[in-house]
C-alpha cells in the first residue's frame, strides 16, 4: 500500500471572518479508522471537509495551515483541488444518490465523469464497488432502477460504493449512520471494518459506542462557546481515549455521552 498518511499541522478553518476551528495538529495513519468526536458545533465536519478541500466550496470559506497527504501539501498552490477530491472520497450524513441516475449510473458516475466510457471496465468497477459496499446481493437484479428508490441504509451504502468506485486512498465519512436505523448502522460499521484494509477512513460520529466499536484512533474536539473557534483537545488510540483520557473535558464528554 502506498504511503498516504495524512499530516495536519496548524490547520485553521474560516467561514468568512468567523474562525470555526483553530490550530489543529493531527496525524492520521494509513489503513486505520480514525473517529472525530465532540459536541456539535465544535468543528468536526469542518476539519473533515478541510481534508479533501470541500470546505472551500462554501462561498467565503477558507483554510490556513497544512494538510500533507503522503508528504505532499494538498493546499500547495500547484495542487489541483479536483485531483485531491479524487484521491480522498467522501460520504455524507444524508445519503445523496443522484436522483436522475440509476443504481448502476450512480456507481459509474465518478468514472464516467472522469472520462472512462468502456462498458466492460464500468461493469467490472460497478460490481466490485457494490460488492465492497455489501450492496451487490440486494441490488444486482435491478441495477437499472433509480438509486433514490432504495431504503435509507441501502442509499448510504450506494453512496459508499459510488465513493470507492473511483478508488480513492482515503474515505471521509461525516456521520454516515446518523439518519439510519440500528440494523443499517451495523451493516455500515461492518463495512467500514472491511474497507479499512484498503482505505484510510476518517469518520465523524456522535455515537460513542460506534466510535469505540470501529475506530483505531480517536480525536476529541471541543468548543468553549458560540462564536469561539473549536479545538482539537486530545488524540490517541481509541482504547486509551475512552479508558483513560488525559484531559478532563474528554472524560466528561465521554462519560456524558455514555451515561
Amino acid at each position: 500500500m502506498a504511503d498516504h498518511r495524512i499530516d495536519i499541522s496548524g490547520l485553521s478553518a474560516f467561514y468568512g471572518a468567523f474562525r470555526a476551528v483553530e490550530d489543529v495538529n493531527l496525524t492520521i495513519e494509513p489503513g486505520s479508522i480514525t473517529a472525530f468526536i465532540g459536541p456539535s458545533g465544535c468543528g468536526k465536519s469542518t476539519v473533515l471537509r478541510s481534508l479533501n478541500r470541500m470546505h472551500e466550496t462554501i462561498p467565503g470559506a477558507r483554510t490556513e495551515g497544512k494538510v500533507l497527504l503522503g508528504g505532499q501539501d494538498i493546499y500547495d498552490r500547484s495542487v489541483d483541488p479536483v485531483a485531491v477530491r479524487r484521491a480522498i472520497g467522501m460520504v455524507f450524513q444524508r445519503a445523496n444518490p443522484f436522483p436522475t441516475m440509476s443504481i448502476y449510473d450512480n456507481v459509474a458516475s465518478g468514472l464516467r465523469l472522469n472520462g472512462v466510457t468502456k462498458r466492460g471496465v464500468l461493469d467490472e468497477v460497478v460490481e466490485t464497488s457494490l460488492r465492497s459496499a455489501n450492496l451487490w446481493n440486494e441490488v444486482s437484479g435491478r441495477l437499472g432502477s433509480p438509486g433514490a428508490g432504495l431504503s435509507g441504509g441501502q442509499q448510504q451504502r450506494l453512496c459508499i460504493a459510488r465513493a470507492i468506485a473511483v478508488k480513492p486512498q482515503v474515505l471521509l465519512m461525516d456521520e454516515p449512520c446518523s439518519a439510519l436505523d440500528p440494523i443499517s448502522t451495523l451493516a455500515i460499521e461492518d463495512l467500514m471494518i472491511q474497507l479499512k484494509t484498503s482505505y484510510t477512513i476518517v469518520i465523524v460520529t456522535h455515537n460513542m459506542q460506534q466510535a469505540a466499536r470501529v475506530s483505531d484512533n480517536t480525536a476529541f474536539f471541543t468548543v468553549e462557546g458560540v462564536g469561539t473557534p473549536g479545538r482539537l483537545v486530545e488524540t490517541g488510540p481509541t482504547r486509551r481515549i475512552f479508558e483513560s483520557p488525559s484531559v478532563k473535558r474528554t472524560e466528561e464528554y465521554i462519560a456524558g455521552r455514555f451515561g
Partner: protein, 333 residues
C-alpha cells in the same frame, strides 16, 4: 488520468494539470458572458431609447413634453420649436388611470380568490383551482382585446350608462363619471386590465397567505375563533404589506400592457378626458398605434420620448412593488 485513478496502488498526481482546469474556466466564462449580456441589454435599452428620443428632446424643451396635454403631430413644423405639439401628459394620465382602475378592481377579487384557495378550498382542489386562475394569465393580450371589443364592451354598456346617469350627476364626482358612454373607454381598458392582472396579484397573495404560521392559526381556532376571526387575527395582519406589494406589482404589469388596451380604449390623443367613461390613450397604446406611421417631423423621436417615460414609470413601480413584497417575506421569515 483515468488509468491512474483506477489502480489504487499508484497514487495519482495531485498536481494541477498544465493549463489548469481549462474546461472549468471556459464554462464559467461562458456563463458570465451570458449574465453580462443580460445586464448589457438592460443598459443598452435605456441608452438607445435616449439616443432615439434625443433629436426631439433637443429640438423642443425636454420639459415641455410633460407640461402639455396636446399631442398633434400634424402641427409639427420642422423649423419651428416654439410650441411643442407633442405633449404626453394625457398618455401618462391614461396609463396611470387605467392601471389604477385595474388595481382597484382586481385587488379585492384577488384577495378573495387567494383566501378561498388557501383557506377554504378542500386540499385536493387547491392546485387545480390555482392552475385555472393562472390560465387567465396565459391568455394572450390580443385575445383579451378582441374579446373585450365583442363580449365585454356590450356587457359594460348598461353599467357605463348607469354610472353616467347616477354618479355622473353628482357634483364634483360627476366629472369622473360623466357620459356619454360609447363602450370604448378608460373604463373598458381598466376592466380588461383588471382581468389580466388578477392572476398575478392572486398568485402573490396566495404565497403571502400560505406563509402565515399554521400554529398561530391553530391557536386562534383553539381560542374559539371562527374562520373569519382566525383570518383577521392570524393571517391578514401579517399579509398587509404583501398585499400592497402584490397590488403594486399588478399595477406595474398593467402599465406596460399594450395591445388589449389599444383595442378597447378608443385611442383619442388630443387632450385629457377626465371621465373614466370617455376615450383616451395610454403611453403604450399611442406608441403601438403611431409607431409605423410616424411621418411628421420629430414624430417618431417623440414616440421614443414616450417609450422612455414608460420605461421609467414601469421601472419605478416594479421596483417599489418588489421592494415591498420582499420586505414582507423577510419579515415573515
Amino acid at each position: 488520468m483515468a488509468a491512474t485513478t483506477l489502480s489504487a496502488d499508484v497514487p495519482p498526481s495531485l498536481t494541477r494539470p498544465r493549463g489548469g482546469r481549462r474546461a472549468d474556466r471556459a464554462f464559467r466564462a461562458l456563463t458570465a458572458l451570458a449574465a453580462a449580456l443580460v445586464i448589457v441589454s438592460l443598459v443598452a435599452m435605456a441608452l438607445f431609447l435616449v439616443d432615439e428620443a434625443l433629436p426631439s428632446m433637443r429640438h423642443y424643451n425636454p420639459v415641455s413634453f410633460l407640461t402639455s396635454t396636446r399631442w398633434a403631430p400634424s402641427e409639427a413644423v420642422a423649423g419651428s420649436s416654439s410650441v411643442n405639439p407633442y405633449g404626453i401628459v394625457q398618455f401618462i394620465y391614461g396609463t396611470l388611470l387605467t392601471s389604477f382602475m385595474a388595481m382597484v378592481l382586481a385587488v379585492p377579487v384577488a384577495i378573495g380568490v387567494a383566501l378561498y384557495i388557501t383557506e377554504m378550498a378542500p386540499a385536493i382542489i387547491r392546485r387545480p383551482l390555482s392552475y385555472l386562475v393562472d390560465l387567465l394569465a396565459a391568455i394572450p393580450s390580443v385575445v383579451y382585446g378582441f374579446w373585450g371589443v365583442f363580449a365585454l364592451i356590450p356587457a359594460l354598456k348598461p353599467v357605463g350608462a348607469f354610472l353616467a346617469d347616477t354618479l355622473g350627476h353628482v357634483p364634483l364626482l360627476g366629472a369622473a363619471f360623466s357620459g356619454p358612454f360609447f363602450g370604448y373607454s378608460y373604463f373598458a381598458a381598466g376592466v380588461v386590465l383588471a382581468i389580466m392582472i388578477l392572476p398575478i396579484i392572486t398568485a402573490i397573495c396566495r404565497e403571502v397567505f400560505a406563509v402565515a404560521p399554521s400554529d398561530e392559526k391553530d391557536a386562534a381556532l383553539a381560542l374559539g375563533a371562527t374562520r373569519w376571526e382566525m383570518l383577521r387575527m392570524a393571517v391578514l395582519p401579517r399579509s398587509r404589506s404583501g398585499i400592497v406589494g402584490a397590488s403594486i406589482l399588478g399595477m406595474g404589469r398593467a402599465i406596460g400592457e399594450t395591445i388589449a388596451v389599444t383595442m378597447v380604449i378608443g385611442n383619442s390623443v388630443l387632450a385629457i378626458t377626465t371621465s373614466i367613461l370617455g376615450q383616451g390613450s395610454t403611453m403604450a397604446s399611442v406608441i403601438v398605434n403611431e409607431f409605423t406611421e410616424a411621418n411628421q417631423p420629430f414624430h417618431l423621436d417623440s414616440l421614443f420620448v414616450v417609450a422612455l417615460w414608460l420605461l421609467a414609470l414601469s421601472l419605478v413601480v416594479n421596483v417599489a412593488g418588489k421592494a415591498v413584497v420582499s420586505r414582507t417575506s423577510r419579515d415573515i421569515a
